[in-house]
Symmetry: C2
Subunit: 227 residues, 2 copies
């Protein structure tokens, strides 16, 4: 099979992959908004609650452009999201925070993993999709978490070990569900096997995941946590 | 006591009343954002979930200007909200929806009660506060509920009686908690007794609540519900 070299939304296989990708991103954002708001309910202080609601609201603001673009691609946006509900809900079920500290770490680690993922893969996509995805990266509101978590660990050192394991679990679940989705959805596995996008061969993908993992480790260190 | 005639933020008693009012509005919006998101979790369809998350996000967007104005008035915004947490949380506790239909009716009735309340009272306030409060009224996103509830009743007529009682309970709890807050907070009871704002005498306040109640009854009818 000859791999097409330039990503082009008129190519039905590439288009199917992008519809899947946007469906997954869209439901991911809806779901993140709900979970972050749930997490905000655990905030000990009103200021922290509002900071987390701010993250949730920023996630929600990204949903409408995704819905619009899915409609522009000729699909019913919510139908395009449907295949990704189960794996994304499962990710959240398996990483349900049991207290405020776990909520904070999940918000920070999860938000940044998603941002890294978008940043790394967007460059391989067509200009329309690339612009849509990078527009969601403009604002980073999660930095307040670093100070909070460091203060929390300073106040109680036993939190460090537990939260380090927690961060590792979030990363692990994120990778597991991503791989599961990629394997189950033909449109996505085609793209990830370099069949649709020549530039995205397996070596490149391995590099990308390597960088995402390195960034994750750096962020855990910033929180004062070992990976 | 001579009632001052023009509302003026440099008057300490009026200023104290406005700080209370903005504190109550601010926490009300934070709380509404959380509850609407919780309600969104009961939506049977993704489109409905997103519509309710849209209401939640619109509530959250109103929080930052309130925080800014409280800070401009020289108080710690979250401290100003603190006295209103218990009554507002209690309102939500006593009106916790048990299913999607109750969530929808609460979103619609609650959102519009608050809008009516702001619209009616804003005209008596100083221009700065008035502009802040009316700016939160610009957008009405809750109209989608009317169609949903009418369709829900058409599909199952037994819902009508239950939801009519439910709407009455929300209205009743809202009035109860508002009166409780007004009675407990001296700064607010002063304003509501015409001591601080000459224009707001008891007869005027009775008229205002009369109009709010009439609007509520009209909206219940629009939903296909008797009051």
């Amino acid at each position: 099979m000859v791999a097409s070299s330039a990503p082009d939304l008129t190519d039905p296989r590439y288009r199917a992959a992008i519809i899947d990708l946007l469906g997954a991103i869209g439901y991911g954002e809806i779901s993140a908004c709900e979970r972050l708001t749930e997490d905000a309910g655990r905030a000990p202080q009103l200021a922290d609650k509002v900071a987390l609601l701010g993250l949730a609201s920023a996630q929600f603001a990204k949903v409408a452009p995704i819905l619009d673009q899915l409609a522009a691609l000729g699909v019913e946006p919510y139908e395009a999201m449907e295949p990704f509900r189960a794996p994304i809900d499962q990710f959240h079920e398996y990483t349900a925070p049991s207290d405020w500290w776990e909520s904070l770490v999940k918000a920070y680690v999860g938000d940044n993993l998603v941002r890294d993922f978008y940043r790394e893969f967007a460059v391989y996509l067509d200009p329309t999709t690339q612009a849509l995805i990078t527009s969601t990266l403009a604002e980073d509101r999660s930095e307040f978490v670093v100070e909070r978590v460091r203060a929390g660990i300073a106040a109680d050192h036993t939190r460090a070990g537990r939260l380090a394991l927690w961060g590792r679990r979030i990363m692990g679940e994120a990778l597991t569900q991503t791989q599961r989705v990629a394997a189950e959805r033909d449109a996505l596995s085609d793209i990830l096997a370099g069949d649709v996008l020549a530039a995205l061969d397996l070596a490149t993908i391995a590099d990308v995941f390597g960088r995402i993992t390195q960034n994750h480790i750096r962020r855990m260190a910033a929180l004062g946590l070992e990976h």
